[in-house]
């Protein structure tokens, strides 16, 4: 019982880290511009399919594809931001939702057109397969790798936000956009860069997700719900909040599926509704 509990906690944490990578960009951009970008998981899908193509068709090693997945998703997201999204910054929540849902629909169909509706298989390298023993616990090597990457990314993100000039500008824009503009900060530029960074992180998450949750054209919809849950529960614009929320959601989903398989995803939706009713702005929301 205890052994399985530790296993569930570990797998849930690894899953939560994946959700964190997928959602942190959305949380920051939402907090900054109040732009509800439901197409965020489509950026993750871009990263996933780039990795699949590079590995299966061009024979690249898995690790080398990860930066490319990041870059590709970042480029796609900034292209969309410059052409479509920026027209709607002052529009209503609903219009933003609809435009971005339209993009999800298109991306799902495009992925189905080029790759078919099947799950994409990839060969992870031998050193990431199987299990390793850490502190007397037997854990999946890939999940350990995933946790390592996510923690590294989190550390870099937090450091960049806390200690660089750009990070200070982003924090100022999230806290009070008008005031930041008044102080001469180029909020649009900071936002575009943050948007690209968030899209890139989603792309990285999408590439890392293939091994754990698979990749098919419906990814943009299925995981959108999870990402939104993490963002709403964590509170907008808060990296720490996203991290905490992703951990809670990842572990409760894994535990729910392990201990009460007949309930399906019921547990995680319940957790979200209860948390939001208790704190409508999320666990760490301030506005």
């Amino acid at each position: 019982m205890l052994g399985s509990l530790v296993g569930v906690l570990f797998d849930g944490f690894a899953y939560g880290m994946l959700l964190f990578l997928l959602s942190v960009g959305l949380s920051v951009t939402l907090g900054m511009m109040n732009f509800v970008n439901l197409a965020h998981c489509s950026f993750a899908m871009v990263g996933g399919y780039v990795t699949v193509t590079l590995i299966n068709d061009l024979g690249w090693p898995f690790l080398a594809t990860l930066p490319i997945a990041f870059l590709a998703a970042a480029i796609v997201s900034i292209a969309l931001e410059r052409t479509l999204f920026r027209r709607l910054y002052r529009a209503t929540d609903l219009d933003q939702c609809l435009l971005t849902i339209g993009i999800v629909f298109v991306s799902v169909a495009v992925a189905a057109y080029f790759y078919g509706t099947i799950q994409q298989p990839i060969n992870t390298p031998a050193y990431l397969r199987g299990t390793v023993t850490v502190l007397g616990m037997t854990v999946g090597a890939y999940r350990l790798f995933l946790i390592g990457v996510s923690l590294a990314v989190t550390a870099i993100l937090v450091a960049a936000l806390e200690y660089t000039r750009f990070g200070a500008q982003v924090r100022a824009a999230v806290d009070n956009q008008r005031m930041a503009r008044g102080l001469g900060i180029d909020v649009d530029r900071a936002f575009a860069l943050t948007f690209a960074l968030g899209g890139g992180l989603a792309g990285l998450g999408g590439a890392l997700a293939i091994e754990i949750i698979g990749l098919d054209p419906s990814f943009g919809f299925t995981y959108l719900i999870y990402v939104l849950i993490v963002v709403a529960v964590g509170g907008l614009g808060s990296i720490g909040g996203s991290f905490a929320a992703a951990t809670v959601i990842g572990i409760s989903d894994m535990a729910g599926k392990y201990y009460f398989p007949e309930l399906g995803a019921f547990v995680i939706y319940l957790v979200m509704v209860v948390i939001l009713m208790w704190r409508p702005l999320g666990l760490f929301g301030r506005r």
Binding site: F105, A109, I229, M272
Partner: protein, 329 residues
């Protein structure tokens, strides 16, 4: 609007008169009986979807409450109608009433939650409640049949005379009548002082209580009405197709009805109906060619509508007719 009026009651009663265009529109909905008798099943589905869109329009278009989980009430109505017929009560009209009552009851309960939230939290809570109900129906397969759908729904002939046949004649007549009756109720509501207050809430939620209109109480009322109408739509679907699949509760259905309403134009009642006709006919035609890529076109259409036609197709049309000196309201 071209009406000059100083007193709100004049504005309201002016809106209640039927224009020639509206009468022609409703008469045109009878045409499928003569022109396309082989498509009456599709016509019936369209009428049901249109009714569902009208129910969403009441809360979204008028009161400004965005719901990403409205399929909850549609599904509730469908399962209620299906289950009572399976239990031996196959009379359709009472089935509709029971389904509407149950959906209204649940809607009233949920409205206490809904009325407290706005913006992203509201979107997420409606989404979450919708998903919860979907998961619950999936888990309770002893009651709902789970993913296989509800089997053994048997509906008695309408008024004990008109059977629900394969051609869909009765089905379309029945669904169209349901749509028209519910539409009359919705139309009466929005042209009442209550409807005016709803529009006030949509424009400024916090200022309405200052002039003596309790926003939350109004939202609770309209949400209950909207849930009941969505329940009727779901029940109509269950009764005319004699099956209920888990899909009636899905997020896809909530998203589709939102798309339909926005496409047609929210906040104009006819928007939902026009949107449903265009969406369903286009889907029927396109998915025959390549069903997978249907969503590609819907996605492009959505992007185009948001960027180019902010008030939907009806909004665009009314702008055109105003420019040409017409009198479309």
């Amino acid at each position: 609007m071209s009406i000059q009026a100083n007193n709100p009651h004049q504005i309201l009663s002016a809106g209640l008169g039927w224009t020639r265009l509206e009468i022609i529109f409703w008469l045109a909905l009878l045409l499928p009986f003569v022109l396309t008798p082989s498509y009456l099943s599709l016509a019936s589905q369209i009428a049901i979807t249109a009714l569902f869109a009208v129910s969403l329009d009441l809360i979204l278009g008028y009161a400004g409450i965005v719901s990403m989980g409205h399929a909850a009430f549609f599904g509730l109505g469908a399962y209620t109608a299906g289950l009572i017929s399976k239990a031996g009560w196959g009379e359709p009209l009472t089935g509709l009433v029971i389904a509407a009552a149950l959906a209204a009851l649940v809607g009233y309960g949920m409205s206490f939650i809904i009325a407290r939230f706005r913006h992203l939290a509201l979107i997420m809570i409606t989404l979450g409640l919708g998903l919860l109900l979907h998961e619950a129906a999936n888990s309770a397969s002893w009651l709902t049949g789970g993913a296989d759908g509800l089997q053994g729904v048997k509906i008695r002939p309408l008024f004990e005379t008109f059977k629900f046949d394969l051609y869909g004649t009765t089905a379309y007549a029945y669904s169209l009548a349901g749509l028209f009756l519910m539409f009359l109720i919705a139309r009466r509501l929005i042209h009442s002082p209550f409807g005016l207050a709803l529009r006030g809430i949509r424009e400024n939620w916090t200022r309405m209580p200052a002039i003596g209109a309790d926003s939350q109480a109004h939202i609770r009322k309209i949400y209950t009405v909207s849930a009941a109408i969505a329940g009727v739509a779901g029940a109509l679907l269950a009764q005319t197709t004699e099956t209920v699949s888990l899909e009636v509760l899905s997020f896809q259905r909530s998203a589709d009805v939102l798309v339909i309403l926005i496409l047609g134009g929210a906040g104009r009642l006819y928007g939902g109906i026009i949107g449903a006709i265009i969406y369903m006919v286009a889907r029927d035609q396109f998915s025959g060619v390549n069903p997978q890529y249907w969503y590609f076109w819907i996605g492009l259409l959505l992007i185009a509508v948001v960027i180019l036609l902010p008030n939907g197709i009806l909004g665009g049309l009314s702008r055109l007719t105003v420019r040409w000196g017409g009198t479309w309201r």
